[in-house]
Amino acid sequence: MSIYIPGRVRMAVGLSGMTRRNFLKSAAAVGAASLAAPAVVRAQSGVTLRFLNNETSVASQAALKKACDDYESKFGVKIIVDSSPISGTMQKVMAAVAAGQPYDIMTSGFIAGILEYIHAGAIVPVTDLVKKYDWGKKAAWEYQGENWYYPFDYNLVVNYYRKDLYAQKGLKIPETWDDFLKNCQALTVVNGGNVDVGGCVIPLASDSSTNWASFGNMFAEGAELFDKDWNVVFDQGENADRATRFLDFYGELYKTMPPGMNAVSYAQLMSLFATGKAAHSVYSGRLVEALETTNPELADKYGIFPSPGSTGQKALSYAFDGFCVGKSNQSEEAIKFLQWFAEEHYVDWLLSAWMNNHPARLDIYENERWKSHPMIKKHWNTMMTMKSYIEGDNIKIMAIDTSGPSIDMRACNVFNANVMPEMLQQKVLGNASSADCVAATAQRIRSVI
């Protein structure tokens, strides 16, 4: 490759050799010094635990830091906290294990992730710790006879609606799909060919947020992925009809959704509702926090209801958040810390995301400090409604990654491969018929399990 200098440019630059050499020399020195810094940190004596946290809100990070500092000053164990947004946590945990530097403790948002960790031999059970407490429905789930994490919240996916808009249009809380669809249609504002205010947002992007938040209506309808013997029955008999009906319903709802749904994930589900760009949204309690911080006016005007089925059945999707303990020669130290944390800082931790951390441990509901938090007090009704959802038996609590007769890798594979989100995309972006989508999805499920 010819790269030649025309004579005239060659001398054009007046940067003296001396200056440049000095610059390079000092730059190299600075570089070497700072590159060496991490090594020094690692060489410190004593135990150092590494904690991967996906609760990245300011308050939660601050609460965790306070707890870690406290622990270090009391027990001399240093805890380094790394953070990762929820969407990349699993990759990060696995990469850390692969790199030979597993985390000692990590937050985990999905059972699908935890089962991957178990199969990779990345975590140890925390059964003894979990057995000490009284847990709400499903929270103390076991796999291979052990408890693998210490949950702190339910993340029930409830439907949010705008009380003010409902009053304006004289709408009622929907009991069936038809009601819901009519409400969404009534609240949709179309302007210049665009949906300006969406009737609802129910995500369809290929990520965990869709797996988590979009299938409440399908669960209510009773479309099952597996039968008792782990046969895929999604495309068979009644299940196929239910699933097809659900997709038809979703297709209609989609027409009322704001544009850009393909890029909607956790954050957008909240911001669309909080900025008034959607009249309904699905989310956990965190949406209430978002309203309080970004649009306090709406914080008095929202209500929640469970996802309806076509004829009035009810269901809610969920995904516990909890702590896992990594498998290493420090596991015992990590469990010790977790135990201490669960006694000393648990309430502070929960209150750092007061509404999202809808407690899975039942004694918390009696905890005075928790109850007297001003925001818990203010939104007490919402909190109690959510509590009632996990108490009664008339509302099904389900999730994609816990489908099937027991907690099992097979359902988790369906979750991790984003099979269900892609079904929604096939329906509304690929314009496939609902029946075809269901058949193709069942086929995909068979291939990924």
Partner: protein, 316 residues
């Protein structure tokens, strides 16, 4: 961003001024038009000028506006961020910046990025200078092949180089260290650096070194004292490219770095977006702060950058 489509027709109108000197000549042959042509000439010149400046303005707007919009958006208070689309905003509101510094390790990330960039520049300058000089001045077979093979380093998806690196770093204890990331950044900056400098050294006549060597220098000294200073534009171009590749790298940092304390800016910035809450204000503030140092460097180095490019970089 839309405007580039509209630009195409404008490009051809740009030709107008060049047409000027030719028109009168051809009209001279048709004598009758001489009068008219001289009469219109100033107007045509003027309209050509206007067309030129208008085109330049459009080019500048197209290049600058998205950046301007990023900065101005980052200066809006959070509650108006989504609702306000005014083109000018005053007074600026620094809440997003304050909150960015409060909730992220921005300064640490910045220092990491800066450190990576400086180290990448330094090492790739040194190594590429030796390789490129050797490839032009030493006698051995397949020199052109050697330099051409540099290109092949870019043909493998960089992402897939990161995985083996991660595995290799595990065995030599460089996992999650900036040393490891430096190696990765060198892998992407060195081939281009060698390539650029090779062009420089190759076009530099032997006479200069020979003269120095006649005066008693060794070839090594001649290289250091004569060749390198004369290659300053090339070295600066290489430095700038190395800086850009390192400063902007997202892929390698994403895979090779885990701890918050060692994250570089692009990865830290992107992790703001994947979180539970949408922090466009902070994200845009962070983006502006990544861009800022680049612009400062750009202002100082632009002249050398272009000089270097014209001198060597992409000459056929």
């Amino acid at each position: 961003m839309k405007s580039h489509v509209e630009r195409l027709p404008v490009d051809s109108s740009r030709q107008i001024p060049e047409r000027e000197p030719i028109r009168p000549r051809s009209s001279l042959q048709h004598g009758s038009k001489v009068q008219e042509s001289t009469f219109w000439k100033p107007f045509k010149k003027l309209s050509a000028k206007i067309a030129l400046y208008a085109t330049v303005l459009v080019i500048c707007l197209y290049s600058l506006f998205p950046i301007y919009w990023m900065i101005i958006s980052s200066l809006r208070p959070a509650e108006r961020l989504f609702l306000d689309t005014s083109l000018v905003f005053w007074p600026p509101d620094l809440t997003s910046y304050v909150s960015l510094f409060r909730q992220t390790n921005y300064i640490v990330n910045f220092l990491n990025s800066a450190l990576m960039a400086v180290a990448t520049i330094t090492v790739s300058l040194v190594l590429s200078a030796f390789v490129a000089y050797g490839a032009t001045r030493l006698r051995f077979r397949g020199k052109t092949m050697l330099v051409a093979s540099m290109l092949f380093a870019y043909m493998f998806p960089p992402l897939m180089l990161a995985i083996p690196m991660a595995a290799a770093f595990r065995t030599i204890g460089l996992t999650d260290t900036l040393w490891g990331l430096l190696i990765a950044h060198l892998a992407i900056s060195l081939p281009l650096a060698v390539w650029l400098l090779w062009g420089f050294f190759k076009s530099m006549p032997f006479d200069l070194e020979e003269a120095a060597m006649v005066d008693g220098c060794s070839q090594f000294e001649a290289f250091i004292k004569v060749v390198l200073p004369l290659s300053a534009p090339g070295l600066i171009t290489v430095a700038i490219f190395s800086f850009l590749l390192s400063w902007a790298d997202y892929v390698f940092a994403l895979i090779l770095i885990m701890s918050d304390q060692r994250k570089t800016l692009p990865v830290a910035l992107q992790s703001l977006l994947g979180a539970h809450d949408l922090r466009w204000g902070e994200v845009l503030a962070g983006a502006s702060l990544i861009a800022l140092p680049l612009f400062v460097i750009f202002i100082f180095c632009y002249r050398y950058f272009v000089a270097g490019l014209s001198a060597g970089a992409v000459k056929g």
